[in-house]
């Protein structure tokens, strides 16, 4: 498969390896040490690291700045960009800024509503939606042009991704929605955290029936549970999350101090099962504020060492 960018993630996926990505949230302050520390912990265990963009609408260090810190220490970043906070001028401008540091991957999102964060009284922008942002980056890269039509000198070479939530409603349009994102130019997909494996597999079956797995790389989203409390919170409070009772019962069935380990075990078992599912091209391991566990998960899932490309 021919390569469109210099992205390491693209090279690994196109070489037919299962890709592994993880996620880091930038700090709520200007000290870069935290993000560097996280980068150091997971560097050798993943192919690229997503850097979230003011996730859950909490104001943080900018995703782009944090990506640059990672890039400078030799970690391959995936710049997450939400359409909530920036209009098309700012988005295109930040894409160029990222490309100037040879940040080669982007994930296009709409972003959680600002009412969930620390600026509930703020405006939101949503000049573009996430699919239109995918189109925008592809246009900038492939046509070498701004949305306004002018030529870009040294167009950004981004490997472009989008998110998919196989569990959000209505279920019947979840596959058509993926098809739409692919039509807009999404080259890789990172899914919402998967706990309901049966439902995910059913979604994948429908994805495969339409041959969509051949048009994009689907990376299954994994988040280990730290405790039964976290599992209940995810089930009841996080929109679009599907946590089966069996997971909650299993965590509740072990003593409190062993729940974290049980959560890791559940995650590893899920990866092992999903590795066999046709169309799954890799895993996106989001260990929220628990990055030190990523190496263990990757190793125990048989995804280590990472391929050299």
């Amino acid at each position: 498969m021919s390569l469109n960018t210099e992205s390491k993630l693209e090279k690994i996926l196109k070489a037919g390896h299962l890709g592994v990505t993880s996620e880091c949230g930038p700090p709520r302050g200007s000290d870069p040490e935290g993000i560097k520390e996280k980068g150091k912990l997971i560097k050798d265990y993943v192919d690229a690291v997503n850097v979230t963009d003011n996730q859950t609408a909490m104001t943080r260090m900018s995703s782009l700045a944090a990506c640059i810190h990672l890039k400078l220490m030799g970690v391959e970043p995936v710049l997450q960009m939400v359409t909530r906070d920036r209009n098309r001028i700012a988005l295109q401008s930040d894409i160029l800024g990222a490309a100037s540091f040879d940040i080669n991957n982007m994930l296009c999102l709409s972003g959680d509503h600002q009412s969930f964060g620390d600026c509930a009284q703020g405006q939101n922008v949503h000049d573009l939606d996430s699919m239109q942002l995918v189109q925008t980056v592809r246009h900038m890269r492939d046509e070498g042009k701004f949305l306004g039509g002018d030529d870009i000198k040294r167009p950004p070479k981004m490997f472009v991704g989008a998110a998919a939530n196989p569990f959000a409603d209505p279920f019947e349009i979840r596959v058509p929605r993926l098809a739409k994102k692919i039509a807009c130019g999404a080259e890789f997909i990172q899914t919402q955290c998967i706990y309901n494996l049966d439902k995910f597999e059913e979604w994948m079956k429908r994805v495969e029936e339409r041959g969509l797995h051949e048009k994009t790389f689907i990376m299954a989203g994994m988040t280990p549970m730290k405790s039964v409390g976290m599992a209940k919170y995810m089930k009841n409070r996080v929109p679009g999350m599907d946590v089966p009772d069996a997971i909650i019962d299993r965590l509740a069935g072990v003593p409190k101090e062993k729940q974290a380990q049980e959560g890791i075990d559940i995650c590893v078992e899920a990866i092992q099962r999903l590795k066999e599912v046709k169309g799954v091209s890799g895993f996106h391991i989001m260990a929220i504020e628990w990055e030190e566990k990523v190496p263990e998960i990757v190793e125990r899932s048989g995804l280590y060492p990472r391929p050299e490309v």
Binding site: R88, D112, S115, H126, L128, L147, A164, G240
Partner: protein
Amino acid sequence: MIIAEKKPIEEIIEEIKDFQRILILGCNECVTVCEAGGKKEVEILASALRMYFINKGNEKKIDEKTLERQCDHEYLEEIRENIDDYDAIVSLACGVGVQFAAEKYLTTPLVPGVNTVCLGANEDRGLWTERCQACGSCVLAKTGGICPVSRCAKRVLNGPCGGSTNGKCELGKDVDCAWQLIIDRLRALGKLDDYEKVAPIKDWSTDRAGGPRTVTREDVKI
């Protein structure tokens, strides 16, 4: 129609406490239908204010009037001959009416008595909900007649976002997900295949972004 809701009376009192002669001015159109600024609401507000100031030992002259429309030169002219009898007007019209009156009577302070909320409809007894944000280039033909601009919290034109749950928006259980409604309607129309057509990047210059909007019709001008 334009939906408005009454401002808290404390806020109105704060704005008018230094005036002696006050006219409460209602409007017979939208704000009457949504029960925020019609004749009835003018009466209620005027009595409450009179009572309040009498109790404070500061009786004021508070008159009532409701115009056919406040967003219309012709009807606004009806108060011209008495305008100097008042130190201030509390207008219960929408923001359009308040401004039209302010522009006409330059030296009379105008205080809004309602918050103008949205363009919406009376969905149920005591429930008014938004339907349009006057984006200036209507996409309803492509979205099953349901508006993603005004009814989706993220104005997603290719929705739904990942937060849609059981037909509700990620904002919470009280808010319908506009995209669930769009999909339901496309299904009812037998046009679910249309869902996969990508909505292009929208020209927002006809929306708020383009500055104050104007409609000019040569054929209507005299």
